[in-house]
């Protein structure tokens, strides 16, 4: 019976997770950085669903479901924070936002 090795799914998940980190590190725009975090969460979700398949149980998918809700909530708050920052600083460039330091 031909099938895809489960490990491939997990490695895909790892790749996407790493891409998310890369985006967070190398992008200099607040919104893109935030989107990179969403990418990381998606990667985690893929792992959960794959493991759920591995055990033949639904609980991994439930976890994914909750992660999605959390991600949506984070998106609302995160974008509100970004809006507030933009309002006082008139910029989205993350490197400009470093007045608190040392």
């Amino acid at each position: 019976m031909a099938g895809v090795p489960l490990a491939w799914y997990l490695i895909l998940s790892a790749i996407l997770f790493a891409l998310g980190i890369a985006g967070f590190l190398f992008r200099r725009n607040l919104i893109t950085m935030f989107m990179s975090i969403e990418l990381m969460l998606n990667a985690v979700n893929l792992s959960f669903v794959a493991f759920s398949y591995k055990f033949g149980r639904v609980d991994g998918q439930i976890f994914t479901f909750f992660v999605m809700v959390v991600a949506a909530a984070e998106a609302a708050v995160g974008l509100a924070i970004i809006l507030a920052v933009f309002r006082t600083r008139k910029t989205l460039a993350v490197d400009e936002i470093d007045s608190l330091k040392y």
Binding site: F24, V44, V70, I81, L100
Partner: protein, 490 residues
């Protein structure tokens, strides 16, 4: 199977404090638009009442120890201790904020419901027995904290603080989640007790490399929340930029809850692989103390100084976690309680001295405080002495129990380095003391300002608690001892 939908009364009683908190927050939220701007403080008073009722609910649910909601939460001594602690921190923060929020952003009453929700999230973290509950509790607490840190949205410092906390916090949460996914993949469960049982059995346990890696990823997330090195970097900036009462809250409440989760996860789920995480925590504890203390040496901004000091204190607590014993867990609990009071007290002083707009935060603004406001300076002295760890203050016994536990676990070198660290730490607290008592106030210093009743209450209460913990530590120690043996509630 309709019976499955309806939780038993006992289940509900075990969840009573969280239910009370959520109800209080929601009602406060509904109340808020009905009030005129000048009456927004009513939400604060209402939330205060809600928190006090929640404290009562903790006592009620303490009578029903055990698990609830299909092992999702567990009410034991450990949970009760931390629930009490975070609610107490919440109460003090609300009182501290009553005047502050009115002054800095008068039109909004949402502050208090947010605070109450955050406390509810921390309570969930304390009782969580299942990673999914812990995760949601963590997110409730964190998201509310992000908002609170950036609450003064017209102040660039405040919203920079919120942004940094939010972005880096979410970044670290992703690591935590990835770890959860892996441990689920390795053991097929997210229940802490079951994970521990599976790992303990050599015949069915997954490869230890995988368990270790999952534990590492989860620890990254938790170490971030407690501001342990090298994940401490956010803390100073966020604490400095956040409104002063919020900083007091952040450095005490969420940190205590994150430590509760860390201890529970390590002691219950990853207890069998102690040999793997102990060396790691050893290094982290040392690095955290050292970085916190040395960075604090060079600070001239009092909020930042206290921020680094709070990092260093997290390092001491980590020493107790590294001890990996019941005595260590008890020391964690006692220290966090002692730390919560001295920390909130110190920030209450900062709130008072900083004045409107938090402009007066430099060390030189504290010059001559002893003569301008002897009472405030005297109380601040108690907090600073406790932070140094002088006997007859809570800080002393906290350190005493931490290092005793560490020695019992044969962490000789770490104990020595930790004690050396606390010797170094004396220096920067001393700078504040010297400024207060021995320096002339800078030219053009404003006159003494009356201490608002809220700040005054928090000051006296925290000072009393700090001294009480230093003179009669047994009061709290007994609870900590009872709560520390997590293994009993199998």
């Amino acid at each position: 199977m309709p019976a499955d939908f309806i939780p038993s009364t006992q289940d509900l009683l075990r969840l009573l404090p969280e239910a009370v908190l959520v109800a209080a927050g929601t009602i406060g939220l509904v109340l808020e638009p009905l009030l005129r701007d000048s009456r927004k403080r009513v939400t604060g008073v209402f939330s205060l009442a809600g928190l006090i009722v929640a404290l009562w609910a903790v006592v009620v649910s303490r009578a029903y120890p055990g698990t609830a909601f299909r092992n999702m939460i567990v009410v034991d001594g450990f949970a009760t201790f931390f629930r009490t602690l975070v609610i107490a921190v919440g109460i003090l923060t609300v009182i501290l904020s009553l005047h502050y929020i009115q002054r800095e952003r008068p039109e909004s009453g949402e502050f208090y419901p947010l605070l109450v929700f955050s406390v509810a999230g921390q309570c969930l973290m304390a009782v969580g027995n299942e990673l999914i509950v812990i995760f949601i509790g963590l997110e409730i607490s964190s998201i509310a904290s992000y908002i609170l840190a950036g609450y003064l949205r017209d102040d660039p410092r405040s919203n920079e603080s919120g942004l940094k906390y939010f972005l880096l916090g979410s970044f670290a949460t992703a690591f935590f989640l990835y770890g959860v996914a892996w441990i689920y993949g390795a053991t097929g469960t997210t229940n802490l007790r079951e994970i521990g049982d599976i790992i303990a059995k050599p015949e069915i346990r997954p490869p230890l490399v995988i368990v270790g890696t999952s534990a590492a990823l989860m620890l990254v997330g938790l170490a971030f929340k407690v501001a342990a090195a090298p994940f401490q970097i956010w803390a100073a900036d966020v604490y400095q930029g956040a409104p002063a009462p919020v900083t007091a809250f952040l450095a005490a409440g969420p940190k205590a809850a994150a430590f509760a989760v860390m201890v529970r996860i390590l002691m219950v789920a990853f207890d069998p692989i102690g040999a793997a995480w102990e060396p790691l925590l050893w290094i982290v504890a040392l690095a955290t103390m050292t970085i916190g203390n040395f960075a604090a040496l060079v600070q001239d901004n009092i909020k930042r100084l206290l921020a680094y000091s709070s990092i260093a204190h997290a390092g001491y607590v980590l020493v107790a976690v590294t001890a990996h014993s019941d005595a260590g867990s008890a020391a964690v609990m006692f220290y966090l309680a002692a730390y919560a009071f001295m920390n909130v007290g110190a920030f209450a002083v900062v709130t008072h001295v900083a004045r409107a707009g938090e402009r007066r935060l430099s060390l030189s603004d504290f010059a001559g405080l002893a003569r301008r406001e002897p009472a405030v300076a005297g109380l601040f002295t108690i907090f600073l002495l406790s932070l140094i760890g002088i006997p007859l203050t809570g800080g002393f016994f906290g350190k005493f129990y931490i290092f005793k536990a560490a020695l019992e676990s044969r962490l000789y070198l770490l104990t020595i380095l930790g004690l050396l660290n606390s010797a170094v730490a004396a220096y920067y607290y001393l700078r504040v003391l010297v400024a207060m008592y021995f320096h002339e106030p800078a030219a053009g210093t404003v006159e003494a300002m009356p201490v608002t009743p809220g700040v005054s209450f928090v000051l006296w209460f925290s000072a009393g608690a700090t001294l009480l913990l230093g003179i009669f530590p047994t009061l709290v120690l007994q609870f900590a001892d009872q709560g520390a043996s997590l293994a009993l509630v199998r």
